[in-house]
C-alpha cells in the first residue's frame, strides 16, 4: 500500500517532484511576500514614532494609518 503510494507504478518520482516543486514555490512566495509586508509595516511604525505634535495629529486623522497601527497591535497579541 505504502509502496504503491510512493512508487505509483514507477511514476512516483515525477508526480512527487511536480507536487513538491509546487509546494516549495507556494511556500517561498508566501514567505517572501510576508517578509516584505512586515518590513514595510516596521518602517511605518518607526517613521510614525518619529513624528512630532502636529504631524501626529494629521497622520492619526487618516483612517488607513489607524488601520495599519491596529494591525501591528493585533498581531502582537
Amino acid at each position: 500500500m505504502i509502496n504503491e503510494i510512493f512508487l505509483m507504478n514507477g511514476y512516483g518520482i515525477y508526480v512527487w517532484s511536480a507536487f513538491s516543486f509546487t509546494l516549495m514555490s507556494f511556500g517561498s512566495l508566501f514567505f517572501i511576500t510576508k517578509l516584505q509586508f512586515l518590513k514595510e509595516r516596521r518602517k511605518f511604525v518607526q517613521k510614525f514614532g518619529l513624528l512630532n505634535g502636529e504631524a501626529i495629529k494629521v497622520a492619526k486623522s487618516q483612517k488607513i494609518n489607524q488601520k495599519i497601527l491596529e494591525g501591528v497591535l493585533s498581531s502582537k497579541i
Binding site: V15, S17, L29, F30, F44
Partner: protein, 235 residues
C-alpha cells in the same frame, strides 16, 4: 466614479481578509491534494503520471487569467487615469509569474514520462515561455523605473503587448500541430474529461485561485503601506 477603488476604503477590507483567505485555502488545498494524490483514479494510458495535471493545468489557467486581468486593468488605467489600478496590477503580477513558472516546470516533469522529453519547442510550451518573459519584463519594469508615471506607462504597455500572446497560447493547440492535446475542459461545449478527474481538477483550481488571492492581498497591503511611508516622510 471609482470611489470604491479608493485605497482608504479598500484597506479596511484587504487588511482583514488575508487570514480568512488563508484559512479557506488550507482547507480547500488539503481536500484537493487528497483527491489529486490518493482518491482520483489513474489514467488508462498515462497511469499515475496523470496526477501532475492537477498542479500543471490550474497553474497554467491562473497565470493566463492573471495576465489577462493585468492587461485589462492597464487599459482601464490608461482610460480612467486611476492611480489605484496599476497598484492592483502590480500586486497581481508576482503570483501570476510564479504560477507561470510552476506550469512550465511541472509541464517539463510531465513531458518526460509522457513524451519522452523534458522540453520541446512546441507551440503551447514556447508561447507559455514567452508569457513568462512578459511577466519578467512587467515585474522588472517596476524595479527599474522609479518615476510613478513612467513606470505605470511602461508596465501597462508591456501588459497590453503581452496579452496578444494569451489567445495564441489558448488556440496554439488548434492552430498548429503540437505535442499538447486539444482542450478537454470546455466552457461552451461538452467537457471530455471524466467527473472523477474533473472534480479534483476543479478543487485544485479553487485552491490555487485562493492562494493567488491571498498573495495579491498581502502584496497590495504592502504597496499601500509603502505609499503611506512616503506620505509620512512628507509630513
Amino acid at each position: 466614479m471609482l470611489n470604491f477603488l479608493e485605497p482608504n476604503r479598500i484597506f479596511v477590507i484587504t487588511s482583514k481578509a488575508p487570514k480568512y483567505v488563508f484559512f479557506l485555502f488550507v482547507i480547500v488545498f488539503s481536500i484537493g491534494l487528497t483527491e489529486a494524490l490518493f482518491l482520483s483514479p489513474e489514467d488508462y494510458k498515462q497511469s499515475h503520471s496523470v496526477r501532475i495535471m492537477y498542479v500543471h493545468v490550474p497553474s497554467a489557467w491562473i497565470s493566463l487569467g492573471i495576465f489577462s486581468i493585468i492587461a485589462f486593468l492597464s487599459i482601464l488605467s490608461f482610460i480612467l487615469k486611476n492611480k489605484n489600478l496599476p497598484l492592483i496590477s502590480k500586486s497581481l503580477a508576482p503570483s501570476g509569474f510564479v504560477f507561470n513558472i510552476i506550469a512550465l516546470v511541472t509541464g517539463a516533469i510531465w513531458g518526460k514520462p509522457t513524451w519522452g522529453t523534458w522540453w520541446a519547442w512546441d507551440a503551447r510550451i514556447t508561447s507559455m515561455l514567452i508569457l513568462a518573459l512578459f511577466y519578467s519584463m512587467y515585474l522588472l519594469s517596476w524595479k527599474i523605473f522609479k518615476n510613478d508615471e513612467k513606470v505605470t506607462k511602461i508596465s501597462s504597455i508591456i501588459a497590453i503587448l503581452g496579452v496578444i500572446n494569451v489567445p495564441i497560447i489558448k488556440f496554439s493547440v488548434d492552430w498548429w500541430s503540437t505535442l499538447h492535446q486539444s482542450s478537454s475542459v470546455k466552457i461552451l461545449s461538452t467537457t471530455t474529461i471524466h467527473t472523477s478527474m474533473l472534480i479534483p481538477l476543479a478543487i485544485m483550481t479553487a485552491a490555487f485561485t485562493l492562494f493567488s488571492i491571498l498573495i495579491f492581498l498581502m502584496k497590495y497591503n504592502t504597496e499601500l503601506i509603502k505609499i503611506k511611508n512616503k506620505g509620512l516622510d512628507r509630513l
